[in-house]
């Protein structure tokens, strides 16, 4: 168990990180992500109020749909990345990072017009069921949820417990995120774990799964000093938002989109076997500083080391040779396309 954003969480269960990771890609894994911040944004104008704080198209989010978006600051930096789901035009559901909840919620609450309220849900747990067998498990326990398309959102009764479910996750696999009253979360977890395909997955494999899927981790790969363009997240900017750029940092972000950024998030594959962890220095072929690794380790499905990091724009093209300075020695590596392991989201 390790401390994590004020919670005590398991790095691994008895199966171990490697087996947990591979099990999730082969069958189904259950993650207790109850540490994440859940909240509802309620009232007429809720979508417009949230949209004013993000580059995403939130007012265009149809009921029953979820979207990945960002809270940005005036410089275009990322305050947090979050999921926004719509139950109705005046009823949004948010999931934010645990370590950013105490920043995000006051930030949102401080920008709401009369009639829109933010209601945190510390009384709700969150489970993620992820992997190619997740849908088959759900078909037995909560068939209503299997009707959800990818990034769909709605109510479902799972094992007799009323839940709010999205067809999403953070592993690159098909799966479900299940919001449930805290009083029911253990009972639901036990029902899911009783299914033969399902094993519990700890923080270690959660990190290696999301790294192989090249999904950014807030605090490592993105933060208030990185912008959506640098992070390769320009796709979160809604088409309509690109006409008026009326969101925090919109002008700076438009300028970066038009003129390019100094640095860029890239996937990096070491040539050898040595993992390069976060904060590893990246060096260009001519010996000049190229950037820094922001996430790195060993990819069990990849069968070798992998990393993400920010490099100078002139070194960001796929195939570019780089060196990673590990324990004082430059190790050969190259820029590769992301994700490292293909996403297998349902169509």
């Amino acid at each position: 168990m390790v401390p994590f954003a004020g919670w005590s969480m398991p790095v691994q269960y008895p199966m171990g990180v490697l087996a947990e990771h591979l099990h999730c890609r082969a069958a189904a894994g259950l993650f207790d992500v109850s540490h994440m911040g859940q909240a509802s944004l309620l009232g007429a104008g809720a979508a417009a109020a949230l949209e004013a704080l993000t580059p995403g198209d939130i007012t265009g989010l149809k009921p029953g749909r979820q979207r990945y978006t960002l809270l940005t600051n005036e410089a275009g930096g990322i305050i947090d990345d979050l999921m926004v789901a719509a139950l109705a035009p005046d009823r949004l559901f948010l999931v934010v990072n645990a370590a950013r909840r105490d920043v995000d919620l006051p930030h949102i609450a401080g920008h709401l017009p009369p009639g829109v309220t933010l209601e945190p849900h510390p009384d709700r747990g969150l489970l993620a069921l992820q992997g190619p067998a997740a849908a088959a498990v759900m078909a037995r326990l909560g068939p209503a949820a299997t009707a959800l398309p990818f990034m769909g959102y709605g109510p479902a009764r799972i094992g007799g417990i009323d839940c709010m479910v999205s067809r999403s996750g953070y592993t690159g696999e098909d799966g479900f995120e299940i919001s449930v009253p805290a009083t029911d979360v253990e009972a639901l977890a036990r029902k899911l774990l009783a299914e033969p395909e399902v094993k519990p997955i700890g923080l270690g494999a959660r990190d290696s799964l999301r790294l192989e899927a090249a999904l950014p981790l807030y605090g490592n790969d993105i933060d208030e000093l990185t912008t959506p363009i640098e992070a390769g997240l320009a796709w979160v900017i809604g088409r309509r938002r690109r006409t008026d750029w009326a969101f925090p940092g919109g002008t700076a972000i438009r300028d970066q989109l038009e003129h390019g950024t100094v640095r860029r998030r890239v996937g990096i594959l070491p040539d050898g076997r040595a993992p390069a962890r976060a904060h590893t220095a990246i060096v260009a072929p001519d010996g000049t500083a190229a950037g820094t690794v922001t996430s790195g380790g060993f990819g069990p499905s990849l069968g070798g080391p992998l990393a993400m990091g920010y490099v100078r724009r002139d070194l960001a093209a796929d195939g570019t040779a780089l060196a990673l300075v590990v324990r004082g020695k430059p190790l050969a590596a190259r820029v590769v396309p992301m994700p490292f392991v293909p996403h297998r989201y349902p169509r």
């Binding site: 171990g16 990180v17 087996a19 270690g204 076997r273 040595a274 962890r277 080391p305 324990r327």
Partner: protein
């Protein structure tokens, strides 16, 4: 000269035993258990002169990287390529087949100060 079979242990969870004048070094079963799935091992170059307590090898699990400190001073004679090719061997056979390196060492004084099996067992219980 200690008996060839005697194994001594460090507080950093390395083991060392002598085979004649050659010291064989590895990490303990407790160490591999704590590290978890081992995915990378880096060993010292043969010929390198190492000091007692000097970081000489690296073992990385899916969770983190850890240094391996030489229990004794001496000159590295040979390293175990099998654990470089198959790092998980350290998880399976930490106490025996997954030795890290062999050392030409006459550091008997340092050896005598290391924990024996009983003392290491007690150390693990109190750590």
């Amino acid at each position: 000269m200690p008996a060839p079979s005697e194994t001594r242990f460090t507080k950093d969870h390395e083991w060392v035993r002598f085979d004649g004048e050659i010291a064989i070094v590895g990490i303990t079963d407790h160490a591999q258990e704590a590290l978890g799935d081992i995915v990378f091992v880096e060993l010292p170059e043969p010929g390198r002169e190492v000091g007692a307590g000097e970081a000489v090898a690296v073992v990385e699990s899916v969770k983190a990287a850890s240094d391996v400190y030489s229990p004794l001073a001496g000159r590295v004679l040979e390293t175990n390529q099998a654990i470089v090719d198959d790092p998980a061997l350290v998880n399976r056979e930490a106490d025996s087949g997954a030795w890290f390196y062999k050392l030409a060492s006459s550091d008997q004084a340092a050896f005598a100060e290391l924990m024996d099996a009983d003392a290491y067992k007690t150390f693990l219980e109190t750590e």
